[in-house]
Structures are given as C-alpha cells and as structure tokens.
C-alpha cells in the first residue's frame, strides 16, 4: 500500500465509523445554566443552615456571658462553654453530598459547552480539507472530485464526533438523574432538621436579649436615650435572627427547582446504552491515524 492510499484509507475509515450516526445534541446552554445555578444554591442551603446554627450558638453564649460580666458575676467566660458547643451540630455527610453535586454541576457546565462540539466539527473539517489538499497535490486532475469528497468526509467525521460526544454527556446526565432526584427528595428533610433547632435557638437568643435588656434597665444611671439605643440594637439583632430563620424554612423550593432542572437535562434524545468509552475509542482511532501519517511521512 502506498503512503497516499494508506492516508486515504485511514481518512475514509474514520469517516465510515463515525459518520453513520443519528444526531444527538448537548443540552441547551440555558438548561445547563439553570441546573448549575440550582445546584449552587442547593449546595449552599445546608451550609447556610449550619452557619445560622453556629452563629446563634455563639450569640446565645455571648449574651449570657456578657450579662454575667456586666452583673458582676465572677464566673464569666470569653469563649463557648461545653453547653454552647453542644448546640452546634455538624452535617458532614450532607455537606459532602452537596459538594459532590456542586462539582458535578461544574463539570457538566464545562463538558456541555457548545463550543466543544463546534471545535470538534471544525477541526475534523480542517483535517479532511488538508487530506483533500494532499490528494489534489498528488493528482491535480482529480482535484474537483476529491476535495468535495474529503470535505464531505470531514463533515461526517465532525457530525459523528459531535454526536458521540453529546451522547456521552447525555448518558452521564441520564445515569445520575435518579441520584439527583433522590437528593432533592431527601435533603429538604435534612435542612428542616437543622432548621427546627435553629428556630428554637432563635427564640432562646430572643429571650436572652430580653434578659439582658431587663438587667440594663435596672441600672439607674442610664438615661432614656441610652436605653432606647440599647433596645434598638437588641431589636435589630433579634429581627435579623428571625429573618434568617424564615429564609431557612423556605428552602424546600430550592430543591424542587434542582430536581426539575436536572430532569429537563436528562430528558433528551440519545441511546442510553452508549458509554463514555465509545467516545474514548474515537480518540484512540485518531491517534492511530496520526501515527500512520507520521510513519508515512518518515518513510518518504
């Protein structure tokens, strides 16, 4: 086999194995962005709940200790005691699964970028065009027929690669969809578990602030303006804590949005039996082609 015919053989071989495929498309950019956004908000939901839990535990401790100090109690502390620390809960498994979800969403945003498929198509076309140029150089009289043929081959390669790539991405989305749906169904309960505690912590914080205000007012040296200012500060702190709590209790919607967004990504054309490996084999075929071309060149 001459080097020219060997090149043609490889180019057409690739066109043949890749070109015959039905069209599959990557998920729409907007759908991917919607999901990535929902995943990001969901990831922060538990984090917010735990931060609120910690903040309130610290707030309750500060209130009690500052009151002890201001009241002349010698047993005041400048740190959390065991009882305060016991109020702080941890949710490592929940944070881990949400972090994994976030990482998956980021990987999906990158993999589902339409630019990748566009580049696949244009690089394939460029390669086929170069192969056509080679054939034309070797046999100028055949150029009018050979070049369009190679361009067509390039398009087919591009279409095949795009299709395989889109399928591999789609398949991953479809495979992981049950896990996303499961997470969206279970995580609201985990957040509610923390939110039930933070709701009661908020009430504790409120009553502690009331106790402090009572104590401050007993000091006859303070005038009305000072008391007024103290009240406003306390009121603002307690209002803020309740507002935060309200936000935590309204997080269910975030997870239903996550489930819906991923369901939209998972429903799409494509063959579920296709694996990412199918795409990897294409890359290997190309490596073989490059090797063959290099060998042909060095034998010249």
């Amino acid at each position: 086999m001459t080097s020219r015919s060997r090149l043609s053989h490889w180019a057409f071989f690739i066109a043949a194995i890749l070109g015959v495929a039905s069209c599959a498309a990557l998920p729409q950019d907007d759908d991917v962005k919607t999901f990535a956004n929902a995943a990001s908000v969901s990831s922060s939901a538990m984090q917010n709940a735990l931060e609120t839990n910690r903040m309130l535990a610290v707030g309750i401790s500060r209130e009690r200790e500052s009151l002890a100090y201001a009241s002349g109690n010698p047993n005041y502390q400048l740190r959390l005691n065991d009882q305060d620390a016991a109020l702080i809960v941890t949710a490592d498994a929940q944070l881990a699964v949400l972090a994994a979800l976030g990482a998956y969403a980021r990987a999906l945003s990158r993999a589902a970028d339409q630019g990748v498929t566009a580049e696949l198509a244009s690089a394939a076309k460029e390669m086929a065009s170069a192969a056509g140029g080679l054939a034309a150089a070797a046999s100028p009289s055949a150029a009018p027929i050979v070049e369009p043929a190679f361009n067509l081959g390039g398009n087919l390669i591009g279409l095949g690669l795009k299709d395989r790539y889109a399928r591999s991405v789609r398949n991953v989305i479809r495979q992981v969809d049950p896990a996303v749906q499961d997470l969206a169904a279970r995580m609201p309960e985990s957040v509610r578990t923390v939110a039930l505690e933070t709701r009661e912590q908020t009430k504790s914080y409120e009553t502690k602030r009331l106790e402090t205000l009572d104590s401050i007012r007993r000091d006859r040296r303070l005038d009305r303006l000072q008391l007024y200012k103290e009240y406003l500060v306390a009121r603002s702190d307690v209002d803020g804590a309740f507002a935060l709590q309200e936000k935590l209790e309204g997080l269910d919607e975030v997870f239903s949005r996550l489930a819906a967004a991923h369901k939209a990504l998972a429903t799409g054309e494509g063959d579920p039996s296709e694996q990412v490996q199918a795409f990897a084999s294409v890359a290997n075929d190309l490596a073989a082609l490059i090797k063959a071309v290099n060998e042909a060149r060095s034998s010249k």
Partner: protein
C-alpha cells in the same frame, strides 16, 4: 439514649414544667401527646405506642422549648428561671438533631455524583485531545501534501 428513654425524659420534664406553670400556658404536654400518637391511638381504642421516633422527640422538645420561650416573654420576673430551663431543653434538642443528621446515609449519592463528574471530565478531556489530535493531523497532512507536490 434510645427513643423510649427520650420519651420518658420528655414526659418527666413536661410534668415538671406543668407543675411550674401556674397559668397552664404550656402547650408542651399536648404537643407531646400529639407527637407520640398516644391521643389518636387512645381515641381509636388501639394499643398505645409508647416509643418515640427521633423526629417526634425533636418536635416534642421544640414544643416544650417554644412554650418556655412564651412563658419567658410573658413573665419578666421569672425570665432568668425559664431561660435556664430553655438552655437544658435546647441542648437535648441539639443532641437529637445531631443523631438525626448522623443517621442519614448520603454516601451512595455522593459516590454517584463523584462518578458522574469523573465521566464528564474524562469525556471533556477526550474531546480536547481529539480536537488537538485532528488539528495536528491536519498540519501533518498539509505538510505532507506540500512535500508530495514538490516531488
């Protein structure tokens, strides 16, 4: 501490709180009954289930805590006393919250997301490699064509 013990603890505490309350403001005993399903079961003449689920125990403790908070708001003179009681209830609620969170198994989902991420990264890397490979091949073919043309 199992759920029966937690149930007994809450019942004892509720009895104490009830004794403490002169005006019967606390809704905790009723909430506790509702949480155990005792009242409903008794109304239907069924065998009463005494064990509490973690969730029911947390709801009962939260109700007790809420009732104490309400008492603290309404009775400035007794506020420090109610606040101390609230501290105790809150610590118990936190302990049960931690048990509830620890008992949830998310590991299979974590593994699924990690696997999916690895597959997507792999597909993306393969695509980049393929694009680079094709560009490389095009350059080689063009150079080879020029060489053949010159011969």
């Amino acid at each position: 501490m199992n759920s029966d013990e937690i149930g007994r603890l809450i019942a004892n505490r509720n009895r104490k709180i009830r004794r403490l309350l002169l005006h019967g403001v606390s809704v905790a005993p009723e909430a506790f009954e509702a949480a155990t399903g005792h009242a409903r079961a008794a109304a239907l003449n069924l065998v009463v289930e005494r064990s509490l689920s973690n969730k029911a125990a947390r709801e009962a403790l939260a109700s007790t805590h809420s009732a104490l908070a309400e008492l603290s708001r309404r009775n400035p003179g007794m506020r420090p006393h109610y606040n101390r009681l609230m501290d105790v209830v809150l610590v118990e609620l936190a302990k049960l919250t931690q048990i509830a969170l620890d008992s949830e198994n998310y590991q299979p989902l974590t593994d699924a997301f990690k696997g999916a991420r690895a597959k997507l990264d792999d597909a993306y890397q393969q695509a980049r490699k393929t694009i680079a490979g094709m560009k490389n091949a095009a350059a080689i073919l063009a150079a080879f064509g020029a060489l053949v043309g010159a011969l």
